[in-house]
């Protein structure tokens, strides 16, 4: 890893409330790995897929303000939410490839005293962990190998789609590798990059429950003890609705669902509070007992 690699850390809105555990565990494993994360000062919402569905230019302004803030600090952005990652990454690409758009957006940024020259990159913390910190650094920090723990890596959509630059768009491997580095076993899991339904869980509950339910069932049938994810909305969908889904689809779909950062922290021997494990809705004892403490 490059010495003193420091990024502009972009937690995203959900990590400040519903998915605080993702933020807490990310900051703590980053410290162990020596990855510098400095929270982007006064960041705003990326606009998410929702703003893109309402107004394209204004959605672009939401992204561009964040990109401009990071550029001022001279650091690449690192997001932990796959939604934020894709939306910011997409805006960055459109601004780079369309000079007319860049000029128009810069004109609007100027109204708030800012500008953006397209000099930074947008990355996901999973990509940083696997490709910047890398195998040796991760293996070196494992104090409690998770021997015998079977883990289903759930990638969801937006880590490798539509930009297949960090992993395969259909069959990603980053978390599979990471699981092995932690001493655990990654199960083969056919639905690992199938959509969980996202906001459908709220807007069309029967549809969201079915999409999420199949993923839970696929993971269980693969013999997994737990699922890990790298996206807050996927995590909430997979974890918080298991009772309802179980009743609706008449199946047992109870299984612990953690962030990949929490699982890493468990293997690094971090305290439960450093990983906000108390905020998990599903019981995580199986996962903890695998490290023998």
């Amino acid at each position: 890893m490059t010495e003193n690699l420091t990024f502009a850390y972009y937690p995203g809105c959900s990590a400040t409330s519903t998915n605080r555990a993702y933020d807490v565990s990310t900051r703590n494993v980053a410290k162990v790995l020596g990855i510098g994360l400095e929270e982007l000062n006064d960041w705003n919402c990326c606009g998410a897929s929702a703003y893109l569905s309402v107004d394209e230019k204004k959605a672009m302004v939401f992204c561009a303000r964040n990109l401009a803030l990071a550029e001022k600090e001279g650091k690449d952005i690192v997001a932990i939410c796959s939604g934020c990652y894709v939306v910011l990454r997409k805006a960055n690409q459109h601004l780079a490839e369309d000079p007319n758009l860049a000029a128009e957006i810069n004109k609007s940024l100027a109204a708030g005293g800012m500008s953006y020259q397209n000099s930074i990159k947008v990355r996901h913390f999973l990509d940083i962990t696997v490709h910047e910190a890398g195998q040796d650094a991760v293996r070196d920090r494992v104090t409690h190998p998770l021997t015998g723990l079977k883990v289903a890596p759930y990638y969801g959509c937006m880590i490798s789609r539509p930009f297949n630059e960090v992993d395969d768009e259909e069959s990603p491997r980053m978390m599979d590798d990471l699981i092995e580095w932690l001493g655990a076993t990654a199960v083969l899991f056919p639905l690992k990059s199938k959509c969980c339904g996202g906001l459908m869980m709220t807007t069309q509950p029967p549809v969201g429950q079915q999409l999420t339910g199949y993923i839970l069932r696929s993971a269980k049938e693969a013999g997994a003890d737990c699922i890990i994810t790298a996206c807050p909305l996927c995590q909430l969908n997979l974890e918080a609705y298991q009772d309802t889904i179980g009743k609706t689809l008449d199946m047992d779909c109870r299984i612990p669902v953690l962030y990949f950062t929490q699982l890493m922290g468990v293997a690094f021997g971090l305290d439960k509070s450093d990983l906000a494990l108390k905020e998990c809705i599903t019981p995580v004892e199986t996962v903890l007992s695998s490290r023998g403490t």
């Binding site: 705003n44 893109l52 309402v54 303000r65 708030g112 789609r161 199938k194 959509c195 807007t203």
Partner: protein
């Protein structure tokens, strides 16, 4: 919308898609149906992804806009990465959503369009999402009685400290509002 209006808007939409990165490939669609086969919700759509492009070419924009199709797209990008012609089809769906919102031609009380409109209002006001306010706005737009059904989930999340009631307003909110006002945007005024 009259038929000629619909055709004109349909052509504008296709032209706009041609303007985005990779968008020109839209003219290479051979109706193979890979998009539809890859879509997790196409079985529920009135117009499947493949049919959307055929319908737009046939000048049937109005019917597509009034259908449930744009609002059943979860933006999973499976269609986009599998398309043999490399058509960024997810962006076509976004374009349809924006056009439907602009014209108010989403189904009444449609939940997904209510969600995106509520979300955009919240982030415009605070600069960040505020989940409690978002949920309130959303259910007022769709079915206020259903708020009661959310109580168990709210309690579950509160018990795990996973619910924030008070919004966080960013410090630079005035600057952000000026930037939003300055940009042309697809539609003037309130999006």
């Amino acid at each position: 919308m009259s038929e000629t209006q619909a055709q004109k808007l349909g052509m504008e939409l296709l032209e706009h898609i041609r303007g985005i990165p990779g968008g020109r490939s839209i003219d290479k669609c051979i109706q193979c149906g890979t998009c539809t086969g890859s879509c997790p919700t196409s079985n529920l759509m009135y117009f499947s992804p493949r049919q959307v492009l055929a319908a737009l070419r046939a000048g049937m924009l109005d019917q597509v806009l009034k259908s449930n199709t744009p609002w059943f797209c979860t933006s999973c990008y499976s269609c986009a990465v599998r398309c043999p012609a490399k058509i960024p089809f997810t962006d076509v769906m976004y374009e349809l959503k924006r056009m439907a919102v602009k014209q108010g031609s989403y189904p009444r009380r449609d939940p997904a369009s209510a969600m995106v409109r509520s979300f955009s209002e919240v982030v415009r006001r605070y600069g960040r999402n505020a989940e409690a306010i978002l949920v309130g706005k959303y259910y007022l737009r769709t079915n206020p009685l259903k708020i009661l059904g959310q109580v168990p989930m709210v309690i579950k999340l509160l018990a795990k400290r996973r619910m924030a009631f008070f919004p966080h307003k960013i410090k630079g909110i005035d600057g952000l509002k000026k930037m939003l006002a300055a940009v042309g945007g697809n539609h003037e005024g309130k999006p």
